[in-house]
């Protein structure tokens, strides 16, 4: 059933969405509703594909083995000793091939999970701060953090406590955005992940080498917020010198700049959660106070 739902989700994609699924990158300017519609369809497909790939990963190991042994013992019990092994092997392959095909197909079209976990919710939330007909300019790179194209550094292998360690560092600037907000402010943000991959090999007492891969990620959210000086001023007592934040008044703008770094620890490369990204934006807003009650400026 899950496979059918995945096919349906893919069938529901527009030609533009299929192109994005292939390229995994998109840049443009649209209204928030248009972005949510465009990206929401991709996210719906990606969620289905992730689920079926997880299932296929388990099945493509377990199912062929079960089929192989069941066929082998079944054939032997029925007296087909000459063909038992080849027959069992053939049946196991017959089961394995479609599962491997599903796994490979969904993996090649996999989009980074931050589309669902961060990008779309962020567009939906900030989109409501735009005036009627307002647009968001977005740039998204959804290829994931640890892909060859984003390799920044490959460190020489080294030994530590009897283990051989190979390290690679990837830099993933995966989202940028620009918006003119309803209160006349200008907001820009940029989200970048740095992923360190460690392949740790160790030889055990029996001489067998075991390797495992670990990831550590850190995410940097850089935010620029220009507030109209006619409406906002730096809050009394605000520590504009707070680490990572700069504030300056330039003409008709109160300019606030912030950068927030958070760390993630997971089996896979992982971005900062939505809440951390939002905190880096609302943290800047919280440094300002409104001079007077103002009417929203519809832009």
């Amino acid at each position: 059933m899950r496979l059918i739902e995945t096919f349906r989700a893919y069938g529901a994609l527009s030609p533009e969405q299929r192109r994005i699924l292939k390229e995994k990158r998109i840049e443009g300017e649209r209204t928030p509703a248009e972005w949510v519609t465009l990206l929401g369809g991709l996210a719906a497909y990606d969620r289905q594909a992730d689920a079926i790939r997880t299932r296929a990963t388990v099945l493509m190991i377990v199912a062929p083995l079960l089929v192989f042994f069941a066929s082998l013992f079944g054939s032997l019990a029925l007296g087909y000793e000459d063909l038992a092994f080849l027959g069992a092997l053939g049946l196991a392959l017959l089961v394995a091939v479609p599962l491997v095909a599903v796994f490979l197909a969904t993996r090649s079209a996999d989009l980074a999970n931050q589309l669902r976990e961060v990008a779309i919710p962020l567009v939906a939330l900030i989109g409501d701060d735009l005036g009627p007909g307002g647009t968001l300019r977005l740039g998204l790179d959804l290829r994931g953090g640890a892909v060859a194209a984003k390799l920044r550094e490959e460190r020489p292998p080294f030994n530590e406590r009897g283990r051989s360690i190979r390290e690679r560092v990837f830099l993933d600037p995966w989202m940028t955005g620009t918006a003119a907000l309803n209160d006349g402010s200008r907001l820009r943000w940029s989200l970048t992940d740095e992923v360190r991959e460690r392949r740790i090999s160790r030889r055990n007492a029996r001489g067998k080498t075991k390797t495992k891969t670990k990831y550590r990620s850190r995410s940097l959210a850089e935010v620029a917020l220009d507030l109209p000086a006619a409406i906002y001023r730096l809050r009394t007592g605000a520590t504009a010198s707070a680490a990572g934040i700069r504030a300056s008044s330039e003409g008709k703008w109160l300019k606030l700049r912030g950068r927030q770094c958070t760390r993630q620890k997971d089996l896979e490369p992982r971005s900062a959660p939505l809440k951390d990204v939002l905190r880096s934006i609302t943290g800047l807003y919280a440094l300002a106070e409104s001079i007077a009650k103002q009417e929203p400026r519809h832009v």
């Binding site: 360190r196 809050r235 927030q260």
Partner: protein
């Protein structure tokens, strides 16, 4: 008919102001078509509807932020958890009067020394399902 008084926005709040078509049975406020949520018991505004359903980061993934009420529920949760008080153009809340929404964790997170530092060397080398 009066205008819709549902509060729009996330970073800042303002009244919707569109022409109201119904009154919310939850809070009694007038609301427009966009902010009306159909309900068996009667018309509800998106804010009341959101407060009746849970919202957190996991629902952000399941809804992908595409449902009508998700952003309103998430907004209230976010304000409650972080203490963020948005500036409001309708005078309902002048967000910065109390000030001090940063806590020690925020200051630590904004520390450029952390941003410039290398990735922490903190390893968990225990056996894992994904080891080969």
């Amino acid at each position: 008919m009066s205008s819709c008084t549902v509060r729009r926005g996330f970073l800042t709040l303002r009244e919707c102001g569109e022409l109201a078509v119904a009154v919310c049975i939850g809070c009694g406020r007038p609301m427009c078509v966009e902010h009306l949520v159909g309900d068996g018991a009667g018309p509800l505004c998106v804010e009341c509807s959101a407060s009746q359903s849970s919202s957190d980061d996991s629902s952000a993934d399941s809804d992908c932020g595409t449902s009508d009420t998700w952003s309103y529920g998430y907004r209230e949760d976010y304000y409650r958890e972080t203490g963020y008080r948005p500036p409001s153009s309708d005078g309902a809340s002048d967000g910065f009067s109390t000030g001090g929404t940063f806590d020690d964790l925020d200051k630590e997170a904004f520390d450029p020394a952390l941003a410039d530092a290398g990735v922490a060397i903190e390893e968990d080398d225990g056996p894992s399902l994904f080891d080969s």
